[in-house]
């Protein structure tokens, strides 16, 4: 690796555009071409990337984030030289190595030794470099003694270790990585994460394509957010993280609206229960106002559950649960204890149950389910995935919740005296 001055640019993309021509009527054979020589099949231009600009500093860890179909993988392939961009300029300083998949080109009928050699040749190493790399790969993968075993006899864990070692042990200056983190068990992912830290320290430049904001927050210092082929946001990983949650929320809200049009009752799931209560809606509002459906972390929030009673009900229990993106319930208030005698509701009456709380939830998209039950648990109405809400924060800590805390600095001399006493 050559030494490069700090602050120089390692990867530069300027005005990169790429579109795919998708014929409406695909001509796949010469026969069709000959039979219909005059038919100009209508071609649809699909713009995968539109005027993408960014620069990555040498040694930077750069995230390319976007939802499925946002063009992030196309961008990576253009950077890697697998696709040719239609216009724009891409320049990369140093040797590039691309990892779109672990173990590309591995042949199960060959021993690890041969596979490492082939992989080296594919990546453009000379035979001498490949031989030098062999020991490093085997050591990293902890596969000493297995190097002459055919890959088809490897356990899946061994295979993944080998694939990852092959990827790491190439002396590249710029690494382009596409969601390879998604594979493997937790222990393996941890190993990948450790290795990323290592790469970051070694001064290599990394571009990581992902839709996992957690990985971006954890590793990347900068990044861009792609949506429909355009750069929607670029900047620090916190900034793009918040925008990412926003667009994800907008998308799920639009989907919910679609669902609502077909199903007037609203919400994602049909209601369960006896039907003696009818949940009309659940709304979250920050006390300070702001965008509906978006709650800043740290603010006071009021949740309002609106319930209609078609028939007379005595002392019902109201409850809702907030689950984060991973499906973990984090907050579940209920009226059963403090408001055990909620009163008697006549047939046709409508009531709002309000819960206010300090929003200490970490940034994520949350889904809310609500229920109205009788004392003792018989369900009157249960609505799963009734509402969805996004929590944002300017400086996330990466934790599930941000518990408020008080802190103070104590003079060490006093502490010492206390100990010596």
């Amino acid at each position: 690796m050559h030494s490069r001055s700090e602050g120089s640019t390692a990867v530069l993309a300027e005005g990169v555009s790429k579109s795919f021509r998708v014929p409406k009527h695909q001509v796949h054979t010469l026969k069709e071409r000959v039979l219909h020589p005059m038919r100009r099949s209508g071609i649809e231009e699909f713009e995968a990337l539109r005027d993408v600009n960014f620069a990555v500093e040498t040694g930077g860890f750069f995230g390319i984030v976007g939802r499925n179909g946002s063009g992030k993988s196309t961008l990576l392939k253009c950077l890697a030289g697998i696709y040719k961009s239609d216009s724009g300029l891409i320049r990369i300083d140093g040797r590039v190595s691309t990892f779109i998949e672990l173990g590309v080109g591995f042949n199960p009928d060959l021993a690890a030794r041969d596979n490492i050699a082939i992989n080296g040749a594919i990546l453009g190493l000379s035979r001498r470099e490949a031989r030098r790399r062999f020991d490093a790969v085997i050591d990293f993968a902890e596969l000493r003694g297995f190097s002459d075993l055919k890959l088809k006899n490897y356990s899946s864990g061994m295979m993944v270790r080998l694939a990852f070692a092959v990827m790491i042990e190439i002396d590249a200056d710029v690494l382009l990585i596409d969601e390879v983190l998604a594979v493997g068990d937790a222990a393996f992912q941890q190993k990948c994460f450790d290795e990323f830290e290592e790469i970051r320290r070694s001064g290599r430049t990394v571009l990581l394509v992902t839709h996992d904001m957690g990985a971006v927050r954890r590793f990347c210092d900068h990044g861009i957010l792609l949506d429909k082929g355009r750069v929607l946001a670029s900047g620090s990983s916190e900034e793009i993280g918040d925008r990412y949650l926003d667009i994800n929320f907008a998308a799920s809200e639009a989907a919910a609206a679609d669902a609502g049009a077909e199903q007037p009752a609203g919400g994602g799931q049909p209601s369960l229960g006896t039907g003696d209560a009818e949940i009309l809606g659940l709304q979250f509002e920050a006390a300070s106002g702001g965008i509906s459906g978006t709650l800043p972390n740290g603010a006071k929030v009021v949740a309002t559950l609106e319930v209609h009673f078609p028939s007379r009900v005595e002392d019902p229990v109201f409850a809702f649960t907030l689950k984060n993106g991973a499906g973990t319930p984090l907050f579940s208030p209920s009226s059963s204890w403090e408001l055990a005698h909620s009163g008697t509701f006549a047939a046709g009456e409508t009531v709002q149950w309000r819960v206010s709380f300090d929003n200490i939830l970490g940034p994520d998209r949350y889904s809310a389910s609500a229920a109205v039950t009788r004392q003792g648990g018989a369900a009157l109405c249960i609505r799963e995935d009734l509402a969805s809400v996004v929590v944002t924060r300017s400086a996330p800590t990466g934790t599930l919740v941000d518990i408020p805390f008080a802190q103070e600095l104590v003079s060490p001399t006093e502490t010492k005296q206390e100990v010596s006493r």
Binding site: T29, I82, R91, D109, R127
Partner: protein, 287 residues
Amino acid sequence: MTIQRSDLMIGREVTGPTAIGTDRHRFWNLTWTLAITEFKLRFFGSVLGYFWQLMRPLLLFAILYAVFVGILKSGGGEPMFGVALLLGIVVFQFFTDATSLAVKSLVANEGLIRKVDFPRAVIPTSCALQALFNFLLNLVPVAIFLFAAGGRISWGWLAIPPIIAMLLLFVTGLSLFLSALYVSFRDVDPIWAVVSQALFYGTPILYSLSVVSDKIGTRAAGLMLLNPLATAIQSLRHFVVSPEYESPSDVFGSWAGVLAPCLIASICFALGVWYFGRSASRIAEKL
């Protein structure tokens, strides 16, 4: 993030995939590695790998020999027609091995092409190289049969390397062309199978060229020899098996006539390189 003018000078420009790339060393290293690997797999993949590799042309030879020499008495007047027949089969097998492997090669290696940037022409070229390895091995039984039938090493054998070089040029060009064409038109594969079949009968393999000269005329024989495969087989028969097989220059009437099939082989190569080079940058997205 501001982009400074000086940044535009950094590193190298990424312009997308190419056929051959800028680094020749890398191209050959990868082509060689892939061809050797596939070759090894074929040979050591099964217990009888080498045996089956040899049996393929030999079995075909046995059948054709029984039918054409035993029953139809074709080539009866030529010396060592059995050896000449086997030689023809082996040469033709080199041609079909390479091209039939190459046609689908880009699609078969889709996983690699869509995920790594490397010179695209490596794939069909390695197919041709792999077929060349097979060919050289298949020449071993040809030599055994030749010596058993009383053939001897002669100065004529010096013609073997240039003939193989011409064949390789022809076959590599076709491999490049067909593999790139198949990406856009998937019926190239069955079409090519028919064309190969036609070429097999249109090349003096089962019969000797003198039959064509005698029954139809020298002009027809000359026309047939424009096919580089026919010239290669006929030359090998003349120089290696027996001088009684007329040499292509005799048929053409002059030594310079042999340049015609060589030119055709070169044109095929140039066409393959040109068409592949034109398609290389978009192969990955068309797969």
